[in-house]
Symmetry: C2
Subunit: 369 residues, 2 copies
């Protein structure tokens, strides 16, 4: 997708053959800068401090991080380094399942190699494959999801389709296309007008800063709203459908996503607005059933709530919005029960948010995760 008219992705290999470049998502939309990762600790830090964020992108960044790590492992015995650095990277963010999936996939592949094998080359090939896979999956999610927008447009052809999304499940959370946004970009290719309500998504404002930015750069009509507004819009018939991303979806279809997603799903249900979750099937965690009880929810630092960073006209500046001495609590995600989800949009197609349908979808198509 485009930034200032130029086609970019969120992560690419450095020209020196020993580094990775990532778009710095902490300074968007105010500055467009990249950060160079040269070591596993650079990659770990980029995930922890959210230089990169978004479940699919985190997985790819971690995969490249394992490659960067391997450049320092002794050639004669890579296994201790592999185990240590894989655990280290998996500990960087607890909620997104893609991260663990990417690392586990690479560990299994590389762990099977004989002593003396070219482990760095194998990991680089693996990271590239995961990157290409995520990219292709996002495009496929767009192809499947656009049917929902086409239908909505057929029902009300005289105006744009009005879609609400929460957080950033856009191309900035992935490599390109995005998950929740992919159907929007494919709709744009097909000439279907779409207007997006962009939830600000406190506390880190990924909607206001990233989703609004990428939609604007791509020329998609949108309005930023605070997270409190969605229910009112749905009560008044101003939302045709909701699409969000997910960080982890259980086999029963419960979806962990950015904190506040559950509230929008409740409002959608209460107002008969379809609520879809877009995800690559690598985000499915079949080991879990009851998402509310079983998905670990990351608690982040209170300063993300008490302080806000923005552009003061000449520089990024952080201001405190709470009284000195008032403590804050900061849960990063919540779980939307499957009963509130109209359907899942994956690279394999549309699917009901229920165990039998999910397992059928996974069995039915080749390359199940």
């Amino acid at each position: 997708m485009k930034i200032h008219g130029e086609n970019l992705t969120t992560i690419w290999e450095g020209a020196d053959g020993a580094s990775v470049e990532v778009l710095d998502q902490r300074v968007l939309p105010h500055l467009v800068e990249s950060v160079t990762l040269r070591s596993v600790s650079d990659a770990h830090r980029a995930i922890v401090d959210m230089t990169v964020r978004g479940a699919p992108l985190i997985g790819v960044a971690a995969a490249y991080g394992l490659w960067l790590a391997s450049l320092c492992w002794p050639a004669r015995d890579f296994r201790p380094g592999l185990v240590r650095d894989a655990e280290y990277l998996k500990g960087s963010r607890p909620t997104a399942v893609n991260l663990a999936w990417a690392i586990d996939t690479l560990v299994a592949e590389v762990g099977a190699l004989p002593e003396g094998a070219d482990v760095p080359s194998a990991l680089l090939a693996g990271a590239r494959r995961i990157r290409e896979r995520e990219l292709a999956h996002c495009r496929a999610i767009g192809e499947h999801g656009v049917r929902l927008l086409e239908e909505a447009h057929r029902r009300a052809p005289g105006r744009p389709v009005r879609l609400l999304t929460h957080c950033n499940a856009g191309w900035l959370a992935c490599i390109d296309w995005g998950t929740a946004t992919a159907p929007i970009y494919v709709a744009q290719e097909r000439g279907i007008p779409v207007e997006v309500w962009v939830d600000e998504t406190r506390p880190r404002n990924q909607g206001a800063s990233l989703t609004a930015f990428e939609l604007g750069q791509q020329g998609i009509e949108h309005h930023v709203i605070v997270d409190n507004v969605g229910g009112h819009l749905m009560q008044h018939g101003l939302v045709d459908l909701c699409i969000t991303g997910a960080d982890r979806v259980t086999r029963r279809g419960d979806a962990a996503n950015k904190i506040g997603t559950y509230l929008k799903a409740l409002a959608a249900k209460d107002n008969h607005v379809p609520f879809y979750v877009a995800l690559p099937s690598s985000t499915l965690d079949l080991t879990l059933g009851d998402g509310v009880a079983e998905i670990p929810i990351e608690e982040r630092g209170p300063e993300e709530v008490t302080h806000i960073t923005g552009w003061d006209g000449s520089t990024l500046r952080t201001v405190r919005v709470t009284p000195e001495g008032s403590p804050a609590v900061n849960y990063g995600f919540d779980v939307t029960p499957a009963r509130l989800i109209t359907g899942l949009i994956t690279e394999r197609g549309l699917c009901a948010a229920e165990e039998a349908a999910i397992l059928r979808m996974l069995r039915g198509a080749p390359g199940a995760p």
Copy 2:
């Protein structure tokens, strides 16, 4: 209630006999300052720019504004001024019914006076009476509402009662005590431990800046959370009850309150958490039935969404949080249907959110509005 250990109210008469002082709520919690109102346009501006806010306080400020206006009316014919300035003040905020109620009450009283009557003295007496009435009503709301906290404490005596509130329906929104907070302050007097989840309340952050501030100053345990968190807390049994204020409640019990209240009420219903709305009965608008269809919802400027003001360590500073060129939409209120409200807490007692119960409560007690 206290600020820096000193007992204060939100509005008081100036020593010069021709002005009114109000706490400047735009700079709290970072600065504690008052603003002097000397004319009807000062009062109008203070309401429009939210130097004063909160339905009960707006009503009192408008009442004093009409008094300030009267100081400039010709003694021989006050009626044209009365009509003009009453309309002017009523136009300052559209959603709060207390504003219209206060002005209409004074207009009816003063309109009945003979030519040559001392209109300014009558209006000053009327404004004082409305102020005292709001104060007494808040205290009474506290006395009635504390029963809910006492009950919750009896059910789980080993820990504080955990209450969630949205926006600021505290003493800063009133004269003293508050509406939603009055039960908390009365509980404090009675030694019942209460812990409050304070919704930040974007876009103007009245929770993070005002509710957190007044609770902290009063020594009430609290945590600030972003508006997205409440559903997650309720899913995990961390909220015993919700109490919010209201800007207008219809005869059927539908409640207009700060945008986002509806989402919390949905989450409360979904998790069997009692959801109460605290209000002086002057906030009831018996002329309206279906709140979602009939209550006018104020749309405010987009800059409240795109920009955030906070403390940078030495001064108040405003930063932009959205991309340049991304438009924003800013609805100030939403309507929570009565079916999601467990009950109303008014100065007359607890009452179901339904027409028959509301009318019975109003008939049963003296001094109906």
